[in-house]
Symmetry: C2
Subunit: 176 residues, 2 copies
C-alpha cells in the first residue's frame, strides 16, 4: 500500500470512539466524535502555503486532505473540535516513506511535520517531534469501513509515555 491508496481509503465521514489513557494517574477519558476526511486539490492555496512554509516544492505533494472533527469528551468541559490540513510528501527514493505536513498538530496547536512509513501489512506509522513532546501514531484498516488508530504522546526524550489513546472509527453512510 502506498500513501495515495491509504489516503483514498480514508476519505469519508467516520464515527469515532476514542479512549485516552492518562498513564501517570490511571485516568480514562472517553470521546465520541465525527471525523470528516476530505480530499483537497494539490492546487489548493492551503496546500501550497503549507508546503512553502516548510520550504518544500508544492509539486512534491500527493493526496493532500483536510481532517475535521467534532465531538464530546467526558472529561473537562467536554467539547472537542478542530480541523487541519495534511499534506503527504513521499520520499522520492522510497514510496513507503515520507513526511506529513500539517498546519496544526495534536499535542501542541502549532504546525508540525512528521515522518511516516507504511508497513508491509498496511499500517501507517507517523512520528512527530514537538518542542516538549513526541507523538507516535499507528493507523490501520480492519476492513474498508473500520479503522483503528493508536496515538502515544511521549516526553520529548522519547522514553516515557504520557498518554496512550485508541480510536475505533466506523465509516458512516454505509451498512456495516
Amino acid at each position: 500500500m502506498d500513501i495515495q491508496e491509504f489516503v483514498a481509503n480514508s476519505i469519508g465521514r467516520w464515527r469515532s470512539q476514542r479512549s485516552a489513557h492518562h498513564l501517570a494517574f490511571s485516568h480514562f477519558e472517553a470521546v465520541q466524535s465525527e471525523i470528516d476526511i476530505v480530499a483537497l486539490s494539490v492546487h489548493d492555496p492551503a496546500v501550497i502555503d503549507l508546503c512553502k512554509s516548510y520550504n518544500i516544492d508544492p509539486q512534491a505533494a500527493v493526496s493532500p486532505f483536510r481532517m475535521s472533527w467534532e465531538g464530546q469528551s467526558d472529561w473537562d468541559d467536554g467539547e472537542v473540535k478542530g480541523s487541519c490540513v495534511l499534506v503527504p510528501i513521499p520520499d522520492p527514493d522510497d514510496a513507503h516513506r515520507g513526511k506529513l505536513l500539517r498546519d496544526q498538530g495534536y499535542a501542541e496547536t502549532i504546525a508540525a511535520a512528521g515522518d511516516y512509513y507504511l508497513t508491509a501489512d498496511g499500517t501507517f506509522v507517523l512520528t512527530t517531534a514537538y518542542e516538549r513532546a513526541a507523538a507516535e501514531e499507528k493507523i490501520w484498516f480492519v476492513n474498508p469501513n473500520v479503522r483503528c488508530r493508536v496515538s502515544l504522546i511521549k516526553t520529548s526524550a522519547g522514553t516515557g509515555v504520557v498518554t496512550a489513546s485508541f480510536s475505533s472509527e466506523i465509516r458512516q453512510g454505509v451498512q456495516n
Copy 2:
C-alpha cells in the same frame, strides 16, 4: 524479533488500563487490572497436556507461559479475573510465524489455537477463529516497560467488528 524474545520481554507484572469499544451501541467499558506473565518450563505438565490435546509433539513448544489477570470493570458486576496457559509452536520453516495454543480463550471460555506472526517492526499479531467469532490481537512494545495491545472481536464471517479494545500496560516494580 522471534517469539522467544517477545515472550522474554513480556515476563513480569503489568498494570493494565483497558478500554473496550462496543461498536454497535457506542459503549465504552473501562477495565483496570494487574496482569502477571510467568515463564513455564517446557516440561510443565500443563504445557505437555495442552500440546497433546492438539496432537502436537510437546518438543515443538518454545517459551510457554502462564498469564493471570485480576481487575475491575466499570460495567456489569465488575470483577474481571482469569488465568490461562499459552504455548507457542513456531513454524519449523519460518521463525516469525507459528501457532499459539491456549487452554482458555478470550471470546469463549474454551481452549483455542491461534495463528501468530511477528512483523518486521516487532508487532505480534494473533488471529484466532472461534465457533461463533474471530479474534485479532496486536501487541507491541513502546519501550521495554510499556506494551500496547489492540484486540478485535469480529463475527465469525470475519467482516463485522463487534468489539475493539485497547490496553496500555505498564511494567510494575520498575521506575518508568
